[in-house]
């Protein structure tokens, strides 16, 4: 959702239904089946789940250990003094030390069973779901602070798989992702969406307008590739070409514009102190270097209203 730093707020409040009777006392009794062994000395801090909404026993919807991990009879009946205790019915994760992880669909169904609405509406059939991603690849349900729900640490979770994007965030021109001011989930919904690239809105542009509403228009003079898709010119995770451009101008503009003064070749021969050499040898030329279109802001020195202009004289995006 829009106004959360990640999915944090919605992650819990969207759980509705499934009321359980006698919440507090019974809940502790139920959990004791597991916590008798998985106590404070467990190698994993299992009990810290009581710091999370999943451990709020006064909320009747709060699940017991076995509601998530299954009844796990074989596991419970095993001899704790012997090695080789059977696995719980549901083992979360994809890399587990002791037990074979449960099938992704089974793992995810357990979570989606309660969290299927809201941000998870489009989980079924989403890219992550179809790629076998499980909830616990990103979420740590027992931790008091789930990394993926923290604005500053969320990118680290995503970068575990999206490593090229990690590299791009260190480039010259970026969004404030590493500064903890733009979390991945402010643009993407990793649980699936109706937009491209799992964006939070129906289209790329609608997603960008959540922070850049001034570019929404409609303008008197619309620039075709701009209204079409912001990523025609911009790359959102980082670029060596400011501001977040896929190519440097003027060549970016010349991908489409090849007439009038946009047609001229811009090269090192145009730059001051550059090698202005003809095929017949060096010459001194009239005001040839540097061309405005290749230097500084290049085309944008004049066509600065490139996202659209509402000036009646702005057809060329220069007003």
């Amino acid at each position: 959702m829009l106004f959360t730093t990640a999915h944090a707020e919605n992650a819990t409040t969207e759980v509705v239904g499934k009321s359980l009777a006698k919440p507090v006392a019974d809940a502790n009794e139920r959990d004791a089946v597991c916590t008798r062994c998985h106590d404070e000395n467990d190698s994993k801090p299992i009990l810290s789940i009581y710091q999370t909404p999943h451990g709020n026993r006064a909320d009747a919807r709060t699940p017991s250990c076995q509601q998530c991990h299954g009844q796990s009879d074989a596991h419970l009946k095993g001899d704790p003094n012997q090695k080789g205790r059977a696995a719980p019915d549901i083992v979360y994760g994809t890399k587990t030390k002791d037990y074979e992880p449960t099938l992704p669909a089974t793992q995810n169904d357990k979570c989606i069973g309660c969290h299927q609405s809201g941000l998870r509406t489009h989980w079924s059939g989403s890219q992550h779901e179809m790629q076998g991603v499980v909830c616990s690849n990103c979420h740590t349900a027992h931790a008091p602070k789930d990394k993926v729900l923290e604005r500053i640490s969320q990118p680290d979770v995503c970068f575990t798989c999206h490593q090229t994007q990690r590299s791009e965030t260190h480039l010259f021109s970026t969004h404030p992702i590493l500064a903890g001011k733009t979390a991945c989930a402010e643009c993407h919904n990793p649980h699936g969406s109706t937009g491209p690239k799992m964006l939070i809105k129906q289209s790329t542009n609608e997603t960008c307008y959540t922070c850049h509403a001034e570019k929404r228009g409609p303008f008197l003079w619309e620039h075709s590739p701009v209204f079409d898709d912001c990523t025609n010119c911009h790359t959102p995770h980082g670029s060596n070409n400011s501001p977040l451009l896929k190519q440097r101008v003027p060549w970016l503009c010349q991908e489409c514009h090849n007439a009038d003064h946009a047609s001229t070749v811009d090269s090192g021969s145009n730059l001051i102190n550059g090698n202005v050499t003809t095929v017949d040898g060096k010459q001194t030329f009239n005001n040839l270097s540097p061309r405005a279109q290749a230097n500084g802001l290049a085309c944008l020195s004049c066509h600065s209203m490139i996202h659209g202009s509402n000036h009646p004289a702005g057809a060329k995006f220069n007003r």
Partner: protein, 886 residues
């Protein structure tokens, strides 16, 4: 402060799962992302852990037989006498249990010193200047204990409160019933620290030159500014500050229905830059005042049942700009009939967007699920027009745009698990943006040039409809091995309501996409995935001139005004009637229509500048977003858990786009990357990681420097090396067909990123935690250009003199090199107190000519210098803070 008292009152709290960050640059930041209890839990009984696991802790009472739940599996009976039932009394007696089950509150305060100031270093981190900064963070939790009957929780957080990146949040909830929250967040973005301008009034929207301003000694040539003007250039800091105010509310009507609403007010203030031309190609880079606000609201009514769930939602976004124009004085020449005293830029107009969405899903069974959504929205913009120019002061008859855009979308997705091994998914998406804005003709002077104006253009309100169908199948070949195949078809219609001809190069593009992925667990330690996708996009009746025709540049001289009048008389001012073609439905390929208002034959031998021209001006230009395209992409991944301690990951991505029908414009683009990651856990307390990424982005763009053929006769084409002409007359004869004017640019972006980090916990008897990271990023942009252009030698006749062909050369390489080192040492004095020491060093070197190309005497002749410098810095920062936990 009474520590015990606070502890008693607050330790009963269980914080919400969505935590806050206590720090950006300081210690709690690192702490926030890990489990604060894990160390204590593991380290508290390192020697007796096995024993404890077997015997359990001393507990108040054996666990009773668990209750049987209707929605949960029936648990087995607990083994008597050994169960640990976690309850309040236990935690009071057992500090380790308390540590695990009760969330801590934290306050951090300290000081951070920065060795030097640089806008780029401080671009987003709130540390733009040298000197001391206050470290301040807090995260305070309250509410009922987890095992009490009190479901309320509250939380207050503050982060970076001494910096310009500060944020505060507050939340109060009765979990399962309602929640209230608020937030404040700000960030200052530094855009440039070395920008200079002679304009007075930066920060406002009326910019004047100093009274003693002298115009360039050579007309319109900013390299010839008098020395007296150079002193007038003053530094202006370019930065913008965003401040967000959030409020939210959610309420559970019952177990199935929930109402949620949230609002955000965001302000953006500061100064940026904007290029502002005045009369043709003369520009100044102005300090652009920014004072904007955006209000957004999200409200939804959500339903969740056993099988069905859904939501009815509203989203509104209202943008307001305090400035509607930016007026600036002409710096190039004294006012005259052709040279206005002032120019005026527009700004981003106020706009609104309102949208209603219905979404939901139904689970026919565990194996078959249907999800769908539909939305309708409208976007308005009706800000008053500015005058055409400051000299004519005329306002278009329409007064304002009265612009409106409708948004409609429908999405349906069906997933079905056909068998244990086969999953199927089918989806359809419809997304439309229909621009309802009226088309009108606007006659205007260019860039505030004086006079009534001789440009005639129609606005082209762009509309777009995207329809996407998708089929996916995921088949498990064998245990640990799966194959996924997918097919997608996407059609995009683009059009303009009310234009006399199509306003887009291709009214419809159709793309077919095939995908194949394999995912396999080759061994217990080795997993891999491979994927390939191919797509072809076709563009029906692609014509590069239609967009220009629809937004049409009219007659260029006053003598042609009668033609404009005739256009107005027919109601269709465009080239069509001018050239004798029908008003609508002009046949492809619109012969006789040219850019530059200069009908010239492409074929050698046909007299130029005649109305009998037989070809298109820029035949072969393909605008990449609508041009036919082949796309291939490949990805691979290898995960190798070499030992329990060592994990390796290698993956690669490759994507290649080929615009196979485009002779000019973007020809192809390629983007491939290689990533290597490894981590090694030396022990429970010591770990290290290393990663490397190489990325190569390559774009090939073609063009032709051909322009108008200005010579109406023919002249012998002398030849120089390479077969190019050597005199102006010949050049002008064959400008449109001269192969020497074709050019090609190959732009490459090569990026190397290396990261190395290590964490050591528990030094000095478990009290000292160390964390170090090193990062290196080398990015290089190369622009290699082939082809060339002609130029006359100084002093030669510009009509009959010799012409020289100048081969293109590569542009300067743009390098950005960044090194970064961070070290964090946290000393835990006791459970309540810790001292945190941070050190960081960051170095950047850039030679980006976006900045350094703007020096006095070095700018393009038609652009005022800004004296901006590319960022180069080496900055140390040291911070010391005290952390109090309770």
């Amino acid at each position: 402060m009474d520590n015990k008292h606070i502890s008693f009152k607050l330790r009963a709290s269980v914080g919400a799962i969505f935590a806050t960050l206590l720090v950006g640059h300081t210690a709690v930041a690192a702490e926030a992302v890990k489990n604060p209890n894990s160390k204590q839990a593991k380290a508290s009984h390192p020697s007796k852990r096995a024993k404890a696991t077997h015997t359990g802790k001393v507990v108040k009472a054996p666990a009773a037989k668990p209750a049987v739940l209707t929605t949960a599996p029936k648990p087995a009976a607990a083994l008597p006498g050994t169960a640990t039932k976690v309850a309040a009394a236990d935690t009071a007696e057992n500090p380790e249990l308390d540590e695990l089950t009760h969330r801590k509150s934290t306050i951090e305060a300290g000081v951070l010193g920065v060795s030097d100031g640089n806008w780029k270093y401080g671009q987003y981190n709130g540390l733009p200047n040298s000197g001391p900064y206050a470290i301040g963070n807090f995260d305070i939790n309250g509410g009922g204990a987890y095992d009490s009957k009190d479901a309320t929780r509250w939380r207050l957080t503050g982060k970076n409160i001494g910096l310009e990146t500060r944020e505060f949040t507050g939340e109060y909830k009765d979990q399962g019933k309602y929640k209230l929250n608020f937030g404040y967040d700000e960030i200052t973005q530094y855009k440039q620290g070395t920008y200079q301008t002679p304009y007075i009034g930066a920060g406002g929207n009326e910019l004047a030159l100093p009274p003693n301003w002298q115009y360039p000694t050579t007309a319109n040539n900013m390299r010839t500014l008098p020395a007296s003007d150079q002193a007038a250039f003053q530094g202006v800091e370019l930065s913008t500050k965003r401040r967000r105010f959030d409020g939210g509310f959610s309420y559970f009507l019952n177990n199935e229905w929930e109402f949620k609403s949230s609002m955000r007010h965001e302000e953006k203030n500061g100064v940026g830059t904007v290029g502002a031309p005045i009369v043709a190609t003369r520009s100044v880079i102005l300090p652009n005042p920014i004072s904007q606000s955006t209000d957004q609201i999200n409200s939804s009514l959500n339903f969740t049942g056993e099988k069905a769930y859904g939501s009815l939602a509203y989203y509104g976004s209202i943008f307001h700009n305090d400035y509607s124009s930016l007026i600036f004085q002409n710096a190039y020449g004294a006012p005259s009939a052709s040279n206005p005293l002032y120019g005026q830029m527009s700004t981003m107009p106020d706009n609104q967007f309102h949208q209603f969405t219905v979404s939901g899903g139904y689970n026919f069974s565990n194996d078959t699920k249907l999800v769908g959504s539909g939305g309708y929205g409208r976007n308005w913009q009706n800000q008053n027009f500015l005058p055409y120019s400051t000299s004519t002061m005329a306002v278009p008859a329409q007064g304002s745009l009265n612009g409106a855009v409708d948004f409609k979308n429908v999405n349906v997705k069906l997933t079905h698990k056909a068998s244990q091994d086969l999953n199927l998914a089918a989806s359809y998406k419809y997304d439309e943006r229909e621009n309802l804005t009226a088309v009108n003709t606007y006659r205007f002077p260019d860039a505030d040039s004086s006079g009534a104006g001789t440009n005639y253009r129609n606005n082209t309100p762009l509309s777009r409809r995207v329809q996407t169908g998708n089929l996916d199948a995921n088949y498990t070949i064998a245990k640990g091995h799966s194959l996924k195949a997918g097919y997608e078809i996407q059609s995009i219609d683009r059009w303009c309501n009310g234009t006399w001809t199509a306003c887009i190069d291709s009214a419809t593009t159709l793309e077919n996409i095939g995908k194949l992925d394999y995912h396999g667990k080759l061994t217990d330690k080795l997993t891999t995935s491979l994927g390939y996708a191919y797509s072809n996009r076709s563009a029906y009746n692609y014509n590069q001139d239609t967009a220009y025709l629809a937004s049409f540049q009219g007659p260029q001289t006053l003598s042609q005004l009668s033609l404009y009048d005739s256009y107005l008389a027919t109601g269709i001012p465009a080239w069509g009637p001018f050239l004798g073609y029908p008003i609508k439905g002009m046949p492809y390929p619109y012969p006789g229509v040219f850019v530059n208002n200069n009908p010239v034959a492409l074929t050698t031998g046909v007299a130029p500048n005649t109305a009998t021209a037989g070809g298109l001006d820029i035949n072969g230009l393909g605008r990449f977003n609508t041009a036919p395209r082949d796309r291939q992409s490949f990805h691979s991944m290898l995960n190798y858990q070499l030992t329990e301690k060592l994990a390796l990951t290698l993956n690669g991505d490759y994507k290649y786009d080929n615009y196979y029908e485009s002779s000019y414009g973007l020809q192809s683009s390629k983007n491939w990357s290689l990533n290597f990651d490894s981590s090694y856990n030396f022990s429970d307390d010591l770990s290290a990681h290393l990663f490397y990424t190489y990325q190569d982005i390559f774009n090939k763009t073609a063009g032709s420097s051909a322009s108008s053929n200005s010579n109406t006769g023919t002249a012998a084409a002398g030849s120089v090396v390479g077969g190019c002409v050597n005199n102006i007359l010949a050049k002008n004869d064959f400008s449109k067909t001269d192969p020497c004017l074709n050019w090609l640019s190959n732009m490459g972006n090569n990026i190397n990123t290396v990261g190395l980090g290590a964490k050591q916990k528990g030094l000095l008897s478990g009290k000292l935690d160390l964390n170090g990271d090193f990062l290196l990023s080398f990015a290089k942009t190369t622009t290699d250009v082939s082809g060339g252009q002609y130029s006359a030698i100084t002093g030669a006749s510009t009509t009959t003199g010799p012409y020289y062909y100048i081969p293109a050369t590569s542009m300067p390489v743009v390098n950005t090199q960044t090194y970064q080192f961070k070290l964090n040492a946290k000393y835990n004095v006791n459970k309540a107190s810790a001292v945190n020491l941070t050190y960081s060093f960051q170095h950047m070197w850039s030679n980006d000519y976006t900045y350094i190309g703007m020096q006095q005497y070095g700018t393009p002749t038609g652009v005022m210098p800004t004296n901006m410098q590319a960022p180069v810095y080496s900055i140390h920062a040291v911070g010391l803070s005290y952390i109090y936990n309770f």
